[in-house]
Symmetry: C3
Subunit: 436 residues, 3 copies
């Protein structure tokens, strides 16, 4: 068979490629396709940042656990008898078997199915039968994974050393999460959309609404910003501004406004700034109380809302975790890399903890808008990936509505590029780039 | 596709391997299996030659389009309102999405589904909403693909620079295509046979009839040359020669003979010389009016035929496009590489433009012979590929009936080998190697 | 995921990695995952050892053949008219096609389906039509594969040169095979379990019973050693020793004991020493006459057994072939590599040649225990492989019940490591390492 031949010159070519990227344009082909670039992404991005792994309502009772899988790793999130939650790499310290195989369950201890090595919920090895004298059980606990719980959201960091500081982001987004009652909310549904495309193509799709009008008619039915974005005419702008003023007055009266957080792009450069720690609120179309069919409520009011203010909240933490929340439900979007050209889009729908399925909400109505919209995005992203594979693909220029993509790309290039670039950008942008 | 990074030591090992090939033998294993060799094939063969992409009858009306996919590229073939046909790489100049996704359709303009960038049929960018000042729409048209229409056949060339000269081949084959009325014919059926094998194993299968007797009983029922080839005895040769004389007399009387074109192998070295621009006519078995069950007609007479002359026409243009045509129908065979060990055999059946499906022809009867024969070939080619993967595969010697394979291999090795070899062969063979 | 390591500088990194392995621990990640290591395994292990390919009862009549596939090779095992069995690489000497495609059948000659090249059962080329003058048919026979038949078991060796000496192993295991009448036995069933894991993870699973108690309740119902192994308490040990004494007395009286053969591990280090030429007998649980539901017979007595002695026989030949045999049936386990992370476990059940399916045995009852147990093992091995892919996988220490794994690993490392290591181990261990 063919001998596997070696790429010449180590990884320097990636540094060189990154330095050659043209600002304000999509990235070169290799950054979306190459397996070595993906390894770099895994190491520098997914191996070194806080990633949303789930919500505490998924494991309410002692012994409840869920597995979270990302970029080849499986993480156990388990609640102990004192109610504390722990995160461990799902790798037995004996011969490396995955300890738990079911995606979720309840277990008094974490018992490896292979040879019965038994770990406590805190990861310590409790029993390992017939080991020779001198075996040090204390040195063979499950490897701990960094975990941080933010208003009920479980974030993990795969880094071997210290995880990046998340305090500034947490401080910025917490008021938003509290407005929506995320800490006490309950997972109503979760869906995984496998996408045959590099994770960056999926994130880029999420970070702009330039495509909303051509691609998402259902979404545009409830989102007023689609008017403004899709057209840009003075008339559309005026319509949007009028609606925004009307909504601000209403939300202010209800006490549901919050100071914007994060990157301070001028308002007319796009409303979606949900990136690397950012949050804002904005109006839905007049008459739409939530993001659902005909704008009609699909679940009981959540969090601090006492009546419908007709707004939505957009929020981002890190490059791959975003929230879009309405008065009666919240959605979290995760972009989970699988391989250079495979990713998952994972959506979690949250509702008020008291809401009863089939009584207070109908899952089909709850999930309709973001199911149909994400199916559209999956198709679009895969067509994008197919075109990027062509010999004739060339990075193209951003529109006025894609400034967030440029921000995302700069941030990405700084992280995977040579150290000099990383330092340069950090200096120039001050506190903007979290987690570097 | 991604610029696959260069294996250390460059591609010299491929050059070395090519120079080591033994004339009159099948190729070394790596030339059928190796991914780097396939990249070289893509660059030197499929990236630099004219390839049949379809027939104009597939897009009869203004706005009609078809996509043609080969070796990782997607090409749009579209007819404009003036009736002109254009070929473009199916890659949006914005962020690289494939512009069109359906394999065929009708569109007033070519509108990218992602962000609505709108191209005219000639590829020029007509609309790109909300681009910043200074954006040059004229610099962002679809990348044009070289296109040449020969008697209704649409050929594309993926080369970035000038496409190879095809004039000599076109001049040679045009009388044959006219005899069969190809320019006005209509596509009756199209079938794709995915084959798990390198494209060269599929072409080699096509280029010899040594396997016809062991493998293709249905085919041998109508093809007199199978007798001669499968046996080679003086009696069989005499039978063939008698039949050939009889047929020549008939065809001459009907005015359906044509001067042979292309490589001038002696007649007794095989009748299939359909290669790199070659064409000839030959008889079917006595009593067979066409290549179909029991030799009975399956469609109305085509082109210049006014009655059945009982002949067939074989014709080749470039390494991967062949025609076998009879009095009442024509088939085009394309060998389309997908990956080092994956190819498609694509067959297109053409009939007279006035022939009505279900009335004048039955698609099942029309396609029967070449469907059953190609299924057999798919199985054979895949068994060949399986054997070539063995550590014990060794190039074996050609029979007397495989001289066209030797010609194909020489031509292939000249194209993918070192430049010196290419020059040497060109000089020696004069005008034989088209498209180098 | 595995840090994909750059195989810079040829294969030296494999030698270095092997020298860095820690004794008494599982192997480093790359040895279970890396494609270059798998190539080395193919060359040094599967390309250079005797591998069980089948049983003569699969091809009882003249012209009967079976194909055996391993590590990319297909081997024809065929019986000629004199009753002799031949093994050939299934690669036509013409253009490399696999000659035979059906997994088993009967053929007067071995006729390549592609061009009809015809080989006798001894591999000599009998007919190759229309080859040019000077073609040497004698130089184009099928490539012979080394074959050795041991008590009806057909072993092949893929080595190009001399196959390793197997005489010492054959001498050691023959009495065991004769006790069970393997030479005359008949294949009753064969099952293939594809496993997504490196072959070494599958063999390691086979070579220890540390996992039997957590993973195999059905197995533990009939196997007394599971008690001892799973617990290790003085009470369990005493129970086992008492049962062993009782059984030895019975077996001695029946004449069904045999001297142990192979590596002489102390008894308390585990009963499974079936490795690289090793064999022993041991008792089942009291009251269990065979390894089946409730210990009840599932087929007529085999071989030299005249009544049930309630024992089992474990036997190994080379790294990938093992037998577990009972009084009424025998099973052979083969570990067949497919790719770095894909293997097959192949199980063959043998019964007395006179036993009639549906009358003397019920295939479902016959195969029940090892079917259910192997499904469990497949799941376990795949979970092991999944954990080994994690960045946090680290080789862990062996228990007292995994000494055979350490022996297997030492043997493996000696074979795939630098020559110095191979010599060192051979010298130290004397005749222990067969087939080096």
């Amino acid at each position: 068979m063919a001998s596997v031949r070696v790429p010449s010159g180590g990884d320097d070519w990636i540094d060189g490629l990154i330095e050659a990227q043209r600002p304000g344009h999509s990235l070169d082909q290799a950054l979306y396709l190459d397996a070595a670039v993906f390894e770099r992404d895994r190491e520098r991005i997914f191996g070194n940042h806080w990633i949303l792994a789930g919500h505490v309502s998924q494991i309410p009772d002692a012994g409840d656990y869920v597995l979270f899988e990302i970029a080849g790793e499986s993480i156990i999130l388990v609640r102990d008898r004192q109610g504390a939650i722990h995160a461990h790499f799902n790798v037995c310290r004996h011969r490396g078997s995955q300890v738990l195989l079911e995606p979720a369950g309840n277990a008094r201890n974490l018992v490896c199915r292979y040879h019965g090595w038994t770990y406590a919920c805190d990861g310590s090895l409790q029993a390992a039968p017939r080991m020779p004298d001198g075996f040090d059980a204390r040195g063979h606990g499950l490897e701990r994974c960094s975990l941080r719980i933010v208003e009920g959201l479980m974030f993990v960091c795969l880094a071997r050393g210290a995880a990046p500081d998340l305090d500034a982001v947490v401080a910025g987004v917490t008021p938003y999460l509290r407005l929506h009652g995320i800490a006490k909310a309950r997972v109503a549904h979760r869906a995984v959309y496998p996408v045959r495309a590099n994770w960056k193509l999926a994130v880029e799709n999420y970070l702009e609404c330039y495509h909303c009008k051509p691609a998402h008619p259902e979404y545009c039915g409830v989102e007023i910003k689609a008017d403004k974005i899709g057209d840009g005419s003075p008339a559309a702008m005026a319509r949007f501004e009028a609606r925004n003023r009307e909504w601000l007055a209403r939300a202010t009266a209800l006490g549901t406004t919050l100071p914007e957080f994060g990157t301070q792009l001028p308002l007319d450069e796009g409303l979606l700034r949900a990136q690397f720690g950012a949050a804002y609120r904005a109006p839905l179309r007049a008459g739409c109380r939530t993001a659902a069919a005909e704008g009609r409520p699909v679940a009981p009011l959540m969090g601090q809302f006492t009546e419908y203010d007709e707004g939505e909240t957009a929020l981002g933490i890190g490059p791959c975790t975003y929230m879009l929340a309405y008065n009666d439900y919240a959605t979290f979007f995760q972009f989970v890399p699988r391989a250079a050209e495979n990713s998952d889009i994972v959506i979690t729908w949250l509702v008020d903890p008291e809401a009863r399925e089939g009584v207070d909400y109908d899952p089909a109505r709850l999930t309709w808008l973001w199911s149909v919209t994400t199916e559209q995005d999956k198709s679009i992203i895969e067509a994008n990936a197919a075109g990027v594979r062509s010999s004739r693909y060339a990075p193209g220029p951003s529109s006025l509505l894609e400034r967030d993509l440029d921000g995302f790309r700069e941030w990405y290039l700084a992280l995977v590029g040579p150290e000099a670039r990383r330092k340069r950008l950090t200096r120039r942008e001050g506190g903007r780039y979290f987690g570097i």
